[in-house]
């Protein structure tokens, strides 16, 4: 079984790539990537993580901590899993990069 990038590199920090455009709809946001020409709808939790990484590059465990605080009580126990999946997804989409 192949490990995901965020699992292999727990100490690596992740940062948002340059040039993204944001359009907000309440707590959700559409992120447009002019490089890939893709537009992505991020729900509030995903957008909170992207904002978190916009402030400064952060490692995966910090993202998990953020989600543990932000998610509903029923989801908090899965914060680490959500963080890994989200980071991997954002990496694949090219919205964040390892630094």
């Amino acid at each position: 079984m192949t490990s995901q990038p965020s699992e292999r590199l727990p100490s690596v920090r992740f940062a948002v790539v340059d040039g993204l455009r944001f359009r907000f709809f309440d707590d959700e946001a559409v992120v447009f990537d002019p490089l890939s020409w893709d537009a992505h709808l991020l729900n509030p939790a995903a957008m909170a993580v992207l904002e978190f990484l916009l402030e400064a590059p952060r490692p995966g465990p910090d993202v998990a901590s953020l989600l543990e605080e932000a998610l509903q009580p029923g989801e908090q126990a899965q914060a680490d899993v959500h963080a890994r999946r989200l980071i991997d997804h954002l990496l694949v989409l090219g919205l964040i990069r390892a630094v």
Partner: protein, 169 residues
């Protein structure tokens, strides 16, 4: 993020604490997604540009502009292998302009990658397909997607195959 300043809002995040559902990212508008998910769209793109119609990378000629066949083109793109070390290599294509070399699988600019990446000497260049989304009104490219590894959601293999059956042979 503060819309005016463009800076993230820590206050807003604090308000949201303990209230959010699991994170979800949905690609809502992707030219490549349309290409991959629409079989009819793929099979409709039977007209392929000749080499004389594509003299340069993503350059659309009058012959294509005046065509009513489709708004998608394929163009061969030369890719080169770059490496940061022996265990960290990737294929890049030259996107031109301010983008420069761009990694094929992640579409991250070479200049945005950490570390010192350099071209691997002695490695032959390869050709990948680029799908070019063209504004049919003006003939100008408005989106480009590179052929991707199979694990990526951006893979174009199935569509390439449907366009050009010989590609599967």
């Amino acid at each position: 993020m503060d819309q005016k300043s463009g800076k993230p809002s820590q206050k807003r995040r604090a308000i949201l604490q303990g209230s959010l559902a699991a994170p979800v990212v949905l690609t809502v508008s992707s030219a490549s997604a349309q290409m991959v998910t629409s079989h009819m769209k793929c099979t409709a793109n039977v007209r392929q540009p000749t080499s004389s119609e594509l003299p340069g990378l993503f350059f659309v000629t009058e012959a294509i502009k005046n065509s009513t066949a489709d708004t998608w083109l394929r163009a061969p793109v030369t890719v080169k292998l770059f490496a940061k070390n022996t265990n960290n290599q990737g294929w890049f294509y030259d996107a031109g302009g301010t983008y420069g070399w761009v990694r094929v699988d992640t579409l991250v600019k070479l200049t945005d990658l950490p570390g010192n990446w350099s071209e691997v000497s002695g490695t032959a260049t390869e050709t990948r397909w680029a799908l070019v989304w063209v504004d049919s009104r003006y003939g100008t490219p408005i989106g480009v997607r590179l052929q991707q590894p199979a694990y990526s959601q951006f893979t174009t293999e199935s569509c390439n195959t449907s366009i050009n059956p010989t590609a599967a042979q």
